[in-house]
Symmetry: C2
Subunit: 568 residues, 2 copies
Amino acid sequence: MKILRIRMNDLTWQEEDVKPEYAALGGRALTSRIVYDEVKGTAHPLGPFNKLVFANGVLTGSLASSAERVSVGGKSPLTGGIKESNAGGTSGLKQGKLGYRAIIFEGVRDDQQIVHISKDGVKFESADWINGKPISTAAKMLDEKYGSHIGLYIIGTTGEMKMNLAGIAIKDKDGSPTRYCGRGGMGAVAGSKGIKAIVLDDAGVDRNRPQQPEQFRAALKQYVEWLQETPQTAKVFPEYGTAALVKTANRLGALPTYNFRTGSFEHHESISGERLRETILERGGSGTPTHACMPGCIIRCSNIYPDETGTTITTPIEYENIGLLGSNLGISDLDEVAELNRLCNEYGLDTIEAGATIGVLMEANVLPFGDFKGAKQLLEEVHLGTPLGRIVGSGAALAGQVYGVYRVPTVKGQSMPAYDPRAIKGLGVTFATSPMGADHTAGQTIRAQVDHQKPDGQVEISKNAQEAAILFDSLGLCFFSASAIAGRWSGMAEIVSAYSGVKVNEEELFQMAHETLRLEHAFNRAAGFTQADDRLPEHFYTEVNPASGTTFDVDEKELLAIGVEGYR
Amino acid sequence: MKILRIRMNDLTWQEEDVKPEYAALGGRALTSRIVYDEVKGTAHPLGPFNKLVFANGVLTGSLASSAERVSVGGKSPLTGGIKESNAGGTSGLKQGKLGYRAIIFEGVRDDQQIVHISKDGVKFESADWINGKPISTAAKMLDEKYGSHIGLYIIGTTGEMKMNLAGIAIKDKDGSPTRYCGRGGMGAVAGSKGIKAIVLDDAGVDRNRPQQPEQFRAALKQYVEWLQETPQTAKVFPEYGTAALVKTANRLGALPTYNFRTGSFEHHESISGERLRETILERGGSGTPTHACMPGCIIRCSNIYPDETGTTITTPIEYENIGLLGSNLGISDLDEVAELNRLCNEYGLDTIEAGATIGVLMEANVLPFGDFKGAKQLLEEVHLGTPLGRIVGSGAALAGQVYGVYRVPTVKGQSMPAYDPRAIKGLGVTFATSPMGADHTAGQTIRAQVDHQKPDGQVEISKNAQEAAILFDSLGLCFFSASAIAGRWSGMAEIVSAYSGVKVNEEELFQMAHETLRLEHAFNRAAGFTQADDRLPEHFYTEVNPASGTTFDVDEKELLAIGVEGYR
């Protein structure tokens, strides 16, 4: 494996050996290490000194179930800190086949380029002919030109316009460019560097093989058994996807509703996982409630949502879309959620940031809660780059400042995902202290055996969840395998050892995670983060969530000990 | 003297004794001390836990020349740090006559109120009948209702909408509400508290008298002689006002031009102080090149700028307006600068922030450089609160983020005044390290006897200028008396001693200034500021200012020693 370094300012490139100290790293551990090593904390996120790194997980390419994720990292224009965002789909596999553990982009330029990577090296061409188009259209044009076998990293119009909520899309196993490295504005960083699309052309390249095939097969067999015997991975996710959470969250008072004013939604039944499944099955056609985003995944949490004629509207509808584009906006119709989700996918928006931002504008009376047409119009304005669209494209924190709004559900400039931190306090701790800003994937605690509404023990739970999250994100593993893997990390270490040929144990894996978190906090300190940034918005401490009857009251000193100034 | 505390959430008030530890403090020293003592660093600037403090300078009310300034302080929504902004005019005098060294506002509310303060106490009435109107109209309506003798603190539509660049206006000695506590969005804080206007009704109240009248008269006589024998205060300011600086700055390569791309303007002659004076004298009518903003001021740096018929367009046109609303936008016509200035005054915008923000939008190709009509339209949109107007109203830093702009001339979220920090490096040090963000009034170095384009010695010069600035702002003295006072602080201590009746010496005055700066940095640390915030925007370090041939290259370590982490 090599590292590919591409300078976008002069369109030059070179291959480099993987440094020994990077050899055991993948995914988030590798993007964060490279960003820490090569980018100053004070660099302008959209300037020539920021870098954008695409790094495969350690297992990515192995075709182990749910282990094909790839990470994108850099300094975030949204948070001003270090950021990693990852997704499934097919690009990790193809990047690995092409031999690149990581691709590092440097420099900025004003125009947009298509970066074509194949066994013959790197080529550049103007992206003029695909700029400004919906992502599905642009991806289809690239497929037509280069063949539908190609992998893609591609940004939408939001990325071209360097908007803070721009993500980077990846094709799923059926070629749909709807898997997102969504969070933190990595699409804006790509746009600033003129990277409209990266074509991963793996024609004529064989896939990577495990170094110790027999041990690998054996360890994998065991892992698959765990997945098949765990209810969450064997039944809940395949049948309902993440949307199974709607009812749970509503019951806990954690479902964001009306800009996080409360945590239960009077119409939650009509946007529940059960309703989602029923609707898809009833409508049939191209719809399916069970769909894998990456080859070989047996969890298949994704879905394809059709309209009444059975024609696909969007893929996938997840809990986060439902929470942020649904209840948070007072919208209770899955078709409406699907349409908003589709537009986010077409224009390259992080759905979480988009929903939270529209919620803040509803709070500011720019449009009323429940106004689906207005919300849809806002997403069209984002695509067109009108002033109002630019405001939406800047994310909730900036939109809140632009409209002088007091209640803005963000931490470190990033919108909260669909969990009210007053009702699931472990996630509140994660939101407050993670170097990634408010991000459930940086330390999910919802399945911890604890009273989520009580403050006790949440810091410890979040700390463990934050380190575990890094482990998943560094191995390329989907977090949805977590229920099956819990307590079985030595088995995962066997898979890693057999695949890479270098023996690692459980302790070393956790050491990598711990060290990654330490470096990320160190980067953020250099970028100017302090314990003042390890806080939820003021009103979560002082205003009771009527659904849970609680404020956020986790002991501050204990919480700060796992944040930017505690984690040294 | 008392402290008046007003809670806007329930419209109640009380008088308090001045605490002994506040007794020697005035102006900025007092606002910053109260904010430090009563507001948490992490408070939301527009939320219920921020406070807004109006504090008179120690000499304010004494009618010593150029010593009638009043300070407004709080946590800034623009910078996120502590802020003090001060202005001349008549309100300080009247606040002092009413017996209040400081007025502290607490709480927030949704509607706007008029707060009427007289010898009979505090009354509140809805501001509905003056909301939404240009400030001159609203002020006239208040004059008609309460009598033209009243003093005012008043916000414009920008403040009502809680925009970051909203200032607070004060009437000048002729009743024109055009003296501004402009910087840092204190008008937005007022708006969040529902303080549309504060009427200072001093009917039936006698003015404050010096405690030691004879000593005071003697000390004052000496001070006036200094003002009269110093060329700057006796001739340059009265004749040309601050606009005398246009030629100097242009020669140094420090005149911001085309969004601070360069420091000299090909049309600088047509916006110079000389041209300003000629034009005003030529047109006559209500115009005058020499005008005092506050009673008793013999410097009279202000002016009234008339149109071709001799009718007033605006007052005053200052160097900062010319630099930011003129050359920085590629605008070279004083009538156009005057019109933009007028609109800023009518709607309550900080002219510096407004000009820098429009410059950033020109950089982003929202409108072309030199487009006066477009710039004017933007200010109208601010007043109307359209999305684009909201973006402008958010200030340059946010506007830059909304449009993904790389070159944004701000520090700590606040726009630079009209001095390119690559060409006047002492000011660059002030911009980088002042707790106030980029602000020339927080440490002006342009008159220091030094090669401004060289890095050497600038840190020391800025440090001294920053402490001196606090002294001026705390005594209520206009900084324009600085040339006359330089090296004569013991004489000023005599004035202070005779006026207040408490003996202070020069050293104690500087100790107060030093202590204030220390507290301000401590507040900012609690608010999350670090040395990463003590920096100019990246491009000032890497891109040469073609007019001066320099980048900003002051030694970083030396600079950081007088910033937020050095100043403990």
